[in-house]
Symmetry: none
Subunit: 259 residues, 2 copies
């Protein structure tokens, strides 16, 4: 399974909470025409499904290898860059890129040895903010304001098309950060966010205020930074020392839940 | 009718011998998302049709205005440039353009006052040679050789997308991050780094190791994130609480220099 995934190259298309199995099939066909084969499905409403197979129109290899996951983290495992497609401009602190810019960034990340996820939300509701929080950037297809919603498989087609063009174009953009360390993947980032959340409790950061908004902001900030593993180790170290201080102060765990 | 057509601008999408009415609807939606409204149907197998309406997902204006014609000439009436989409390289004496090149040629023709048709053949057989003979050029979407056939509506989407991009070209791109808070300036970042450095001393992070490399790494990480003022305030708050814990623990300042 992972051998097949590796053979598929560094790019994967992640479909989140897809309602209509026909769209999964159409998306499979779309990415296959552009030379991609890896699709990960997070909580699809129906899969496998005869409609998916019918609409794949022969891209059965893509459907057959598609992973089905219970949450986004699992679908993003191994990825150092996750870009979420979104039709709407939201009050989200994520960089917003065009499909063409996103394709260049994706290629640059792959050139640094990373795996890249293009993430597509539910047909009607798109990606929720909590789902976008796992992403490092947003991709907006430049549709018109009064009719902005592309069909899911057509959004997949546009993104796969730009990615293929960028690959055919050859030279990726100069990597923004000269990383000599492997980029942190989605699982490592989740572990960091869990550690951060626990530390904020331990040092009594919230002081009774609701934590959700702050945590979401911090999440976006650190996702945006596209950290490598060494940077994560440093931050874990800082958090651990802050927790140590809280323990010495006899404060730790006061407002935290057990374990 | 022709008044409406003129109001739609110089570009039209011509679908020839479309077999599945659902594809007509999907194509209508695709062109509508990219700001186009004019579709001409040559010998559609079924139209109007409830499936077309369903798949148009609200692009009813496009379907409602679509002309239905008995031959290609009628569908191309008034056009000075007709470009036929074709997945295959054929022995046809026509210039072959990428969608991006085709979009630029289309815009140039429109700038000279012409009307332009993007022409799409039957789902299974594409455009026949006799139909291509009405075209001035062929457009090939760069799909992979072993799976080259895009769904009709997806081919329409790619072409409409490139045409829209070409039209938007020249207009400035959206700013990379839609920030609702002012970005942190250099002075604020320096204050943050000073606070971070002091806090690392206070919580005894370095433990005798030299601090310079770590501080430089953290500096790069946070610079890269291009933070806004609200994010900085949150981070200052976290640092302040970590320092408070260190004071309560009686550790703060142990390894810090005076003041």
């Amino acid at each position: 399974m992972s051998v097949v995934a590796d053979a598929a190259g560094p790019f994967r298309f992640v479909l989140v909470r897809t309602a209509h199995p026909g769209n999964i099939g159409s998306a499979a066909r779309a990415i296959r025409t552009m030379g991609f084969t890896r699709m990960e499905l997070v909580l699809p409403a129906h899969f496998p499904d005869p409609q998916a197979t019918a609409m794949a129109a022969g891209a059965d290899d893509v459907l057959g290898r598609a992973g089905v996951h219970g949450d986004m983290i699992a679908g993003l495992a191994g990825c150092s860059l996750a870009l979420g497609l979104s039709a709407r401009r939201r009050g989200v602190q994520l960089p917003e890129w065009s499909p063409r810019q996103a394709a260049r960034h994706s290629l640059a990340a792959a050139a640094r040895g990373g795996q890249v996820a293009l993430v597509f939300g539910n047909e009607r509701t798109g990606l929720e903010n909590a789902e976008l929080a796992h992403c490092h950037g947003m991709v907006r297809i430049p549709s018109v304001d009064d009719f902005s919603s592309l069909n899911l498989a057509q959004a997949v087609q546009v993104m796969a098309y730009e990615l293929r063009l960028a690959m055919l174009d050859g030279a990726p953009e100069a990597p923004p950060a000269a990383a000599d360390e492997p980029p942190a993947d989605a699982v490592e980032m989740e572990r960091f966010f869990a550690h951060l959340e626990q530390t904020l409790d331990d040092i009594d950061f919230h002081k009774g205020r609701t934590a959700t908004t702050i945590l979401l902001r911090l999440r976006k900030l650190f996702q945006r930074a596209q950290m490598d593993e060494r940077e994560l180790r440093i931050l874990h170290g800082i958090l651990a020392d802050a927790q140590r201080m809280a323990r010495l102060a006899g404060v730790a765990g006061k407002s935290a839940t057990a374990d």
